[in-house]
């Protein structure tokens, strides 16, 4: 990306933040809070997710057979099935259906697939097309694109909609309240529905056993779209088929809860079309026989069958488009789908859809807005590893169309990546090299980096926003400090404390505090000579480089694990890497051994205390008031509770933040094009920590990024909680003291 591309991207995002950010944030955060509440009431939540996942895995595996069964069932019911290769094919078929029905007006209920194939545009020359979902209708009137896959007009305020209606219809008594606007729209759309000829719906699910389709809606417009028209066309991606009616269960129970936080939406229409209702002729005021109804199921491939063959994109096909990954995403909450979205789809999973359907160029436009924070992972009702899909697609974008040629020059660069890689990504991906240099030449490196000239150059050439404070490299690294140092003799346990990049070069004090705390609990601590984890290159989509790191780290650490030592990790993003992403980078046995043998620092301290170590060896909290922000990836793994429990046990008075992510996310907040969204996300956290009753609390955070962000946004300092918990002096248990 050139400097000017970065600036224009930054401008675009700033514009969206200013014009749509507030409405998008209010709505998505409302949905997200609703999700937490609704799933908490569902006893079998985790089981239902796994069941939903298993059904989708099986259905995609058996897709050709299920499609054939579905065709048989629909045809036996008197409907027609058309399998369209691509958008043009689908549109041509639907145009023919509309023409055969002498259709002057087509009414539609909300369907992402019809947006994907741009059906409205394809029909525009032949007939009138009216969206009947209120949100979609507003956008049709405004000629705007959806900003959310479930609630397409969340970027529009009530006032904006009122203005739009007044401008378009010039009503005598302009509607203003939500109630008035809804009734106005209902009235207008009622007229359109009454003389419509063809009804187009999507299908959330299709059951191969009976030819039944499920439509998940709340307004009732899908019901009217079907009831009021004689010809029903359902447009659906081929991936929507599941084996049986009974298999609908987990999806019906999860889709509303996961998306908008509703236990269930008002209507789940289970139709086995053509439907059994009489036809309604509002012009002649006559009803007719249900026998006169026609049904066409248009199944759209448009890249999906190729995605099915793609080991990394296949999971995308399990997506039920509930919007949980959008609503749980801190970045999406600020910018919505107009920035974090492609041609049709938006939010985290959109990278998979757009890469598979439109291509890498489209995915590249927004893929970097996924920071890999992983908050969507537990929210996804079909357990899709959405961050991994984003990482894989980023890797493919890095490699570009000329990937094969790039392999030839691979040997000339210090990593495993292609020569065309964006210099910004290469810089952040090789942060380990930078940090080594930074420490080796500190403090001169820090002085130089901080001059105005350097900052301008960095912004221009690698897009590091000059408003962001740079990390200060320590002259003596954590490992240098620990090297040759004696530890506890005859210990209770032995650990290797993983010297992550940030602890080693920047947050050295938290490393020393971790050693003091562990030794105070009678644990011998070794700080091994291992390279960086690979988190930095992985977050830039540099998978080959990350895999290199992972292999070396595993080689080193697994020797210790085999020798009976536990691996303890301070940096939550590296702990999460060992627990989650290494599964993609290492063979299964090595991954499992390292994941099982490694612990987050406070998880380990908690375990020691629970197994009889004395809390007296640690600093007492004495009621000291703390505001604690746990790391996003820590929370996905559920290990943040150990920090909270230990602080609580030691007598600290702790309040915790309630945001999905701090917004810094490693390199993300440094990047010129994303600085503003990073700060917008961070401001929500800062607001919680500057609220009355919290503003005087000592700020603690587990992640390096979170600490950087908090330091930039708050006037008071922040530190890692281990620095408060560790005894200030070295414990006497250590030999040689």
């Amino acid at each position: 990306m050139t400097a000017s591309d970065r600036r224009s991207k930054a401008d675009h995002i700033r514009h969206i933040l200013e014009t749509e950010g507030d409405a998008v944030a209010a709505n998505t955060q409302g949905f997200n809070a609703g999700r937490y509440e609704s799933v908490a009431d569902l006893e079998a939540y985790e089981d239902l997710k796994s069941e939903a996942r298993a059904i989708k895995e099986d259905a995609i595996e058996r897709l050709p057979d299920l499609l054939s069964d579905l065709r048989t069932a629909v045809e036996a019911n008197g409907g027609t099935v058309y399998l369209a290769d691509d958008a043009a094919d689908a549109n041509q078929y639907i145009r023919d259906v509309v023409e055969d029905a002498d259709g002057d007006r087509v009414v539609k209920s909300k369907s992402m697939t019809s947006e994907e194939i741009e059906l409205n545009e394809a029909l525009a020359d032949d007939c009138d097309v009216v969206e009947t979902d209120l949100g979609e209708w507003v956008l049709q009137l405004a000629d705007e694109a959806p900003s959310h896959i479930v609630a397409p007009a969340i970027h529009k305020s009530r006032e904006g909609i009122a203005e739009l209606f007044t401008e378009r219809f010039d009503p005598e008594d302009p509607p203003e309240t939500a109630e008035e606007l809804t009734m106005f729209a209902r009235e207008k759309l009622g007229e359109q529905l009454a003389d419509a000829d063809v009804g187009v719906t999507g299908a959330n699910f299709l059951t191969a056993d009976s030819g039944t389709m499920a439509l998940v809606t709340s307004e009732g417009n899908a019901r009217k779209t079907v009831a009021a028209t004689d010809t029903h066309v359902a447009v659906a991606g081929v991936e929507k088929v599941i084996p049986s009616v009974e298999d609908l269960r987990p999806f019906i129970e999860l889709i509303g809860r996961s998306g908008t936080g509703q236990d269930i939406t008002s209507y789940v229409s289970l139709l086995t079309p053509p439907v059994d209702s009489p036809t309604l002729d509002f012009q002649r005021d006559e009803t007719g026989s249900a026998e006169d109804r026609e049904f066409h199921l248009v199944l759209v491939d448009n890249g999906r069958l190729a995605m099915r063959e793609d080991d990394d994109l296949r999971e995308t096909l399990y997506c039920i488009r509930c919007s949980a990954c959008s609503n749980s995403c801190a970045n999406f909450q600020q910018v919505g789908g107009h920035a974090f979205g492609g041609e049709t789809y938006s939010g985290g999973i959109a990278t998979g859809w757009e890469a598979g359907i439109e291509g890498l160029d489209t995915a590249a436009e927004f893929n970097d807005l996924c920071t890999g924070c992983s908050r969507c992972v537990n929210a996804c009702p079909v357990e899709i590893d959405i961050p991994w899909i984003n990482t894989v697609v980023r890797d493919r974008i890095n490699r570009g169309a000329d990937a094969e040629l790039d392999w030839l020059v691979d040997g000339l660069v210090p990593d495993e990546e292609p020569s065309g890689l964006d210099p910004q990504k290469r810089l952040f991906g090789n942060f380990a090299t930078l940090a080594r240099l930074g420490s080796a030449t500190a403090p001169v490196s820090n002085w130089l980096a901080d001059t105005g000239v350097s900052r301008r150059l960095m912004e221009r050439f690698v897009g590091i926003d000059r408003r962001r404070d740079l990390p200060t490299f320590a002259a003596e690294t954590f490992r240098e400090w620990a090297d040759g140092r004696s530890t506890v003799a005859n210990p209770e346990r032995e650990v290797v404390l993983f010297p992550d990049l940030y602890t080693n070069h920047v947050q050295v004090e938290r490393g020393k505090a971790a050693v003091r705390a562990l030794e105070a609990l009678d644990v011998a601590v070794h700080v091994p000579d291992v390279p960086a984890s690979g988190r930095a290159p992985l977050s830039q989509g540099m998978i080959a480089t990350a895999r290199d790191h992972a292999e070396t780290v595993a080689d080193e650490l697994l020797d210790h694990v085999e020798a009976g030592r536990d691996v303890v990790v301070i940096e939550p993003s590296d702990h999460a890497l060992f627990q989650r992403e290494y599964e993609q980078l290492l063979d299964a046995d090595r991954y499992r051994a390292l994941a099982d043998g490694s612990y987050e620092l406070f998880e380990y301290v908690y375990g020691l205390l629970a197994n009889g170590a004395s809390a007296d060896a640690l600093a007492s909290g004495d009621g000291r008031r703390l505001a604690y922000h746990s790391h996003c990836q820590q929370r996905t793994l559920g290990v943040e509770r150990y920090t909270e429990a230990v602080l609580d046990d030691l007598g600290f008075d702790v309040v915790t933040s309630d945001v999905e992510c701090c917004g810094m996310a490693g390199s993300f907040g440094y990047k010129q094009e994303y600085y503003d969204v990073s700060v917008a996300v961070g401001d929500e956290l800062a607001a919680q920590f500057t609220a009355d009753g919290v503003d005087d609390r000592t700020v603690v955070a587990s992640g390096t990024s979170c600490l950087d962000q908090l330091d930039d946004l708050l006037e008071r300092p922040s530190k890692h909680p281990i620095e408060l918990v560790a005894p200030t002096a070295r414990t006497e248990r250590v030999s040689g003291d």
């Binding site: 939500a178 209902r186 269960r249 908008t260 209507y267 059994d276 309604l280 509002f282």
Partner: protein, 169 residues
């Protein structure tokens, strides 16, 4: 099918959660129970015999203009789903679907015995039916709703209010 007491309790609690009012009655009490909650003009489809009969104020066989003019629509529900307070509405040749959809108030009549505990039981019934004879069912929970206009509003395209008449034998 029989429904134990706790399933019915759960069902009526969940009806409340979703702002659906209800009456418990016997087959003989059905006409009065319907009339008590029906504003005119009211349209309906004939109920299965076991659920009693419609009161005279409810007109059957509505034309499209009757549907649009009606304030109340009366239909039967084939199942109730206790966990969700859902009413399972059939589509029938005499127009149960439009009658339950177009008027502002929907009155659904169902047998207590047809209230099942959860979604799995409901889908087991529906699966057998769909595989054998096709057919349609709307799992309707609460009134029609939208939040697209800046706040939650009931009655986006469908009914603004729903009442369930639960018939105990």
């Amino acid at each position: 099918m029989t429904t134990d007491h706790t399933t019915l309790d759960r069902f009526t609690e969940r009806l409340d959660d979703f702002d659906v009012s209800h009456t418990l009655t016997t087959p003989d009490g059905v006409p009065d129970a319907i009339e008590a909650v029906s504003d005119s003009p009211a349209v309906g489809v004939e109920l299965p015999d076991s659920l009693g009969r419609l009161p005279d104020v409810v007109r059957t066989d509505p034309s499209p203009s009757d549907l649009r003019a009606a304030v109340t629509g009366v239909t039967h529900a084939t199942l109730g789903i206790a966990d969700y307070g859902s009413l399972v509405l059939p589509s029938t040749p005499d127009g149960a679907e439009p009658v339950s959809l177009y008027p502002d108030r929907h009155v659904a009549v169902l047998a207590e015995d047809d209230v099942v505990p959860g979604m799995s039981e409901a889908l087991a019934h529906l699966g057998d039916r769909f595989r054998a004879d096709g057919g349609d069912a709307i799992v309707a929970t609460g009134p029609s709703a939208t939040a697209d206009m800046g706040a939650l509003v009931k009655g986006a395209h469908g009914p603004k209010a729903v009442h369930a008449v639960v018939v105990q034998s």
